[in-house]
Amino acid sequence: MKVLYFAWLRERLNLSEEDIAFPPEVVTTGDVIAFLAARDEAGALAFERPAIFKTALDARIVPHGTPLADAKIIALLPPMTGG
């Protein structure tokens, strides 16, 4: 699955996107964040407050805990500051 990172999340992970073959226990968008937080030091720091992130599956915002199903792209979005 392709994972996209934006803004300060992208900078903290030093990565704008990557492909990850998630293990079978990663079922929902929340599981993705938990997986990344557990993966390494940078992930733990970046996802210290997991609830602040919105997630999008295939460029559609979804509620926390939505199953990944057959989505191809997950985007992890820090609080937005446009306008």
């Binding site: 803004a7 999008a56 559609r60 820090p78 446009g82």
Partner: protein
């Protein structure tokens, strides 16, 4: 309806006139223009907006559609830039057209309030002391919440 997300600069007045030309006999148009701010007590050198364009178009379209339905707008346009900009450059413009001025004001304002929290743009300021990401404001959450009553 016209929704645009682009790195290309836009001309606020030319966009207003193009918008009005499409339907000005409706009677009332409200335009919000957001520009790169640089105040004397908080000067900035540049502003860089990061964006997830595909999602931004989808979110702005949903917000604009909701405003059109809710306030029976005759037309709406949302233009949002991303990339690097200098103080005074336009970032965003929202234009709402209606037969009634209150609807035009409400439509433009609701789109701006939602856009601030729901459209995937992130601002990074460059100042004399370095660069930093702009923090999301809880005031923006409350501005949005008033439309949900």
């Amino acid at each position: 309806m016209d929704i645009r997300v682009s790195e290309t600069p836009f001309d606020p007045g030319a966009e207003s006139n193009a918008f009005l030309d499409r339907g000005k006999a409706a009677g009332a148009a409200v335009t919000f223009t957001g520009l790169v701010r640089s105040l004397p007590d908080d000067p900035i050198i540049a502003l860089t907006l990061e964006c997830y364009p595909e999602l931004a178009i989808r979110q702005l379209t949903a917000i604009a559609t909701e405003a059109v339905t809710r306030f029976s707008l005759a037309d709406i346009t949302v233009i949002h830039r991303y990339g690097r900009m200098l103080p005074g450059e336009p970032i965003v413009q929202v234009m709402a057209l209606s037969a009634h001025r209150q609807a035009a004001f409400d439509g433009a304002q609701m789109v701006m309030d939602y856009l601030k929290t729901d459209a995937p743009f992130w601002k990074k300021e460059t100042t004399a002391t370095g660069e930093h990401w702009v923090e999301a404001k809880s005031a923006d959450d409350s501005a949005k919440a008033r439309w949900e009553a």
